[in-house]
Symmetry: C2
Subunit: 350 residues, 2 copies
């Protein structure tokens, strides 16, 4: 299985997701600033993977900072990593978890603090894989046998520490013997579907057909799609879900054609502090992502562009939210807080 | 104004729409086979422009065929041009019109036949511009002042003999003094929105913002879009409309957000022989259009692709259809045949 992000003695090693699938290249981030840059420029992307990378970034910053400067530097390390991307809440969740541990170690030796923070980052990494397997186990029964599943963007191994959320559900269904075929939206402008999802599924031998985003409606109407499964970057208390731009249209088209629409995400993607999706900050990314592909210009020079990286799918379009602690169904205002408060299951901490 | 397609002594001259906007290059088709190739490879595209090009292709074939062979060659000329693209009905409408004229001239001299067919192709060309101006005049009152209009693909001067259908309505609204801003969907895979619509509107000084197709839902939900206007490739008797892939999702999202959705098209786009859109043939185009952009690979080698070039928007999502003879409103089963049977207005034949 592909290793999205990995802790090594040299630093945090990531597969460069801006270059896949034509070039399989690994980047070693030797400082926390390099980890922050890698998150900002989408060398690593996907809400859970960003969380893992940020935790490792905090650990790297702590390891590389002289003991006498750590007290002063630690808040800066956390702030730099938190300022990279605004929408995915897993980033803040992971940094907060590292912060809480750091604060609980006040007075401990620098050596002890370093060891503990590195161990915590590795725990977040390992937990993420276990969480994804649990999401897969809960979600697999929802995947219809012998029909197509539509997915948008990449919520796969490359978006997580491994296995994937939406693609984890698809993998678990395939492992359970279901005949699954996937329609992958190419996912402009960054092409995560064409570059990452198609690549991952082909490596696993799961049949995949690549389509442009605007074809999803046609195939949902055709009756060939049994369900939609996507990931999430942040889920508000009422179930409204921010995910990659283009998710909301797929959800509306799924409902219009009576196709179930599932969100697969870890509990760490919940933001129970937000009453609704209207409060989720939406990142605006550079125009060049829209006007150019691999450096090739597609549009007239100087054209105005808007490039919101995410949209918000209102909860009323979501059939269910698949988490590592079970499947939440509407009304999400009740089911999500209940799941968040539930004790972790054995699947989560094996 | 850009000249999309033009009759010259050397042959049919077209602006090469596969190369815009970075390269403005003209192609001269010296035989009807070259015209057929240009239609198939989308050097010229857009339902009305395809109709004009096909009419000129028939005229070119007739002019270049020795008199004694014409009787045998004429059906072949028409069949070759008709076999280029299956969805846009204007292609068949234009060829049929040339055929009917040819048959009415049975017994006339070769010289007379040639002159008449060239004159007819030029008439189709000139009528198309007048038709577009009339569509613009009928549609302009529907464009809200000071709001954004969303369009998909290119239904502009480049899709017609000139002025455009959907963009003709926008141009007419701008000429009438309305403050119009356009959101242009980039329109994967062929990028007509990014390459052609943005370019046309920038040349006219009409403010345009380029977005990816999957952002349309986000902006329709935002309340910033006052109406959607698109073109059409074939409209069935009940109003179901085939247009560029991605039109159906926009229509569903417009209705979901209470934004009017207008189709702008000439009467020649109506196919009253078809009871519904289910009967419209949908062209499947080469996979390379999806996997590559300007020759640059975007996806893993060998990935499976589907590439339907059009989708069908059920009539229930369409607020009105703007034609050169007036605006058709539901029930379209009644309004469309009535418009088709109506005498042509002064606007159409000035």
């Amino acid at each position: 299985m592909v290793e999205t992000v990995k802790w090594t003695p040299e630093g945090v090693v990531m597969i460069d997701q801006t270059k896949l699938p034509r070039t399989v290249e690994f980047v070693t981030c030797r400082t926390y600033e390099e980890v922050a840059d890698a998150i900002r420029t989408m060398v690593v992307r996907g809400a859970p993977a960003i969380g893992v990378a940020a935790a490792m970034g905090v650990a790297l910053g702590v390891v590389r900072t002289p003991a006498e400067l750590l007290e002063r530097e630690f808040p800066k390390i956390c702030a730099t990593l938190a300022a990279t991307r605004p929408t995915a809440v897993n980033l803040f969740w992971a940094i907060d978890r590292m912060k809480r541990l750091y604060e609980s170690l006040r007075g401990a030796s620098a050596e002890r603090v370093r060891e503990a923070l590195v161990a915590e980052a590795l725990r977040i990494y390992e937990e993420d894989i276990a969480v994804n397997r649990a999401i897969g186990a809960h979600g697999a029964p929802l995947v219809p046998d012998g029909r197509s599943v539509l997915t948008h963007c990449n919520a796969g191994a490359l978006a997580t520490a491994g296995y994937g959320t939406a693609l984890g559900v698809i993998r678990a269904a395939a492992e359970a013997g279901k005949r699954v075929h996937v329609f992958a939206d190419e996912t402009r402008p960054f092409l995560q579907g064409a570059r990452l999802t198609a690549w991952e599924l082909m490596q696993d031998g799961i049949p995949v057909t690549l389509i442009t985003d605007n074809m999803a409606g046609h195939f949902l109407k055709s009756g060939r799609i049994g369900c939609v499964i996507v990931g999430a970057d942040r889920i508000a208390r009422n179930g409204d879900t921010a995910n990659k731009i283009g998710t909301y249209p797929v959800a509306v088209l799924a409902r219009e054609n009576n196709v179930p629409f599932y969100v697969a995400a870890p509990i760490s993607t919940l933001d129970l502090t937000l009453a609704s999706g209207d409060l989720i900050p939406i990142e605006e990314r550079p125009a060049a992502e829209v006007t150019h592909v691999f450096g090739v210009p597609l549009a007239p020079e100087g054209v105005a562009v808007e490039n919101p990286a995410f949209d918000v799918t209102p909860a009323r379009y979501i059939t269910a939210i698949i988490t590592e602690r079970g499947v939440a169904r509407p009304p999400f205002e009740e089911s999500l807080p209940a799941l968040a408060a539930a004790p972790q299951t054995e699947e989560v901490r094996p």
